[in-house]
Symmetry: C2
Subunit: 223 residues, 2 copies
DNA sequence: AACGAATCTGACCGTGCGGTCAAGATTCGG
DNA sequence: CCGAATCTTGACCGCACGGTCAGATTCGTT
């Protein structure tokens, strides 16, 4: 926009501000249009900087896209697996995990959409992450699940498929929000949607795992 | 390919053969690349016909894409809602619906991916379908669910969100198959994956709804 | 103040791709 | 068997869009 907001910046401030603005704009545009559908000119306009500027900082469209993806994954990985840990009570852990994923879907839907769109393309860039980091993480969390089952806290279940189910159910509220809203009609507001989503998904997961529901989630009032 | 396969065709046979080949090829290419990522030349190559031929039959890329989408929706709608019907037993109906959706995801993953990619784009073309046909269908199926609940056959649940969950869990095996395979590793074959998927999803849905599981699915052996 | 480095920007370029076209080949109706 | 309609092509076009560049402007340092 205009320069007056940065009268005397610390060194490298311009770089930081510009790249942040570009990344934010790129995340929005890539989320709605996908990699191929997104236009560099559109991202430039959305970030309030001239197109040549994007190339100054990121070189090519492909590199900008990778930067966005990495930014997303960084946060993704950081918050994941904080819930499914050995010490926890299964009910609390599973409900907490679902709640965290839903909150993420609501707060940063673009990230989920970019991830989805990348997997739809065959995950050309994410493949290493999927086969290594994610696979290892699922294996670790699977041990926890199986331990709970061995101790009789939940019924035996195929851990990876349980996670596929949880991811699918939660991310659908980010990726397919258009469909959700179309089906629910215009009178459904965000709060109502996500409250009902949390109640439903939590119930399917907890009951599906066969945990005792006595110490269940605080409230499951709204239908 | 070569002409010898059609020595004496009935009228319009060429049109039917060519359009069918083009539609099939287009579905494959659009599924992996999305609308913007797909190249007309690629579809042409995949269909074994020269590019100009696609334009002869479909005019523009956009119209070809619409044709593919309509083809998908036609079959989609036809098979849906055959399961969630008033007369049925909830266990049988829900398990059957899940099984049908999973079979669809396995048999025609491209269709599911194109649908997903279209919704990710904001559903520019599908919006009428979503707000009218699908919305009405969900409302009808919701009545059935609520009727089951009223008769004490299942617990009360928010019907639309139940369907969102079922769609998400089943379609994830088509849309995100790359992720599924990456996480499960190379030793997991199709049969094993879908058997475990069916067992897991069915369990979450049936228990989530609180139906008695006596007459449950035939087998749930494999992990 | 002054000079080099970093940042910014409008104007420009090459090409990949959707779409066209006109001429040739095949099929169809009578 | 002939003329008309349908179908099949390779060659070609225009332009949208990713990327470049050189000159202007601002920043950081002494």
């Amino acid at each position: 926009m205009d320069t007056q907001a940065r009268p005397q910046g610390e060194p490298g401030a311009a770089r930081r501000d510009s790249t942040a603005a570009i990344l934010a704009a790129a995340e929005r545009v890539f989320a709605r249009a996908g990699f191929h559908g997104a236009r560099m000119a559109e991202i430039a306009a959305a970030s309030g900087l001239p197109k040549a500027n994007l190339h100054y900082y990121f070189g090519t469209k492909d590199r900008l896209y990778r930067a966005v993806l990495e930014d997303i994954l960084r946060q993704w990985v950081a918050t994941a697996a904080a819930w499914i840990e050995p010490g926890r009570d299964p009910t609390e852990a599973l409900a907490g995990y679902v709640r965290a994923k839903l909150a993420d879907a609501r707060r940063r839907p673009g990230a989920s959409r970019i991830f989805a769109s990348e997997i739809l393309r065959g995950a050309p860039l994410l493949m290493p992450y999927l086969t290594e980091e994610l696979r290892r993480q699922v294996a670790e969390m699977g041990v926890v699940i199986e331990d709970w089952a061995a101790r009789g806290l939940i019924d035996p279940i195929a851990p990876p498929h349980l996670f596929f189910a949880i991811w699918a159910m939660t991310q659908t509220y980010a990726d397919f929000d258009v469909q959700v809203r179309a089906v629910l009609g215009p009178e459904a507001d965000d709060d109502a949607i996500f409250a009902a989503a949390e109640a439903t998904v939590t119930r399917l997961v907890l009951r599906g795992c066969g945990v005792r529901e006595d110490a269940g989630p605080q409230r499951e009032d709204r239908q």
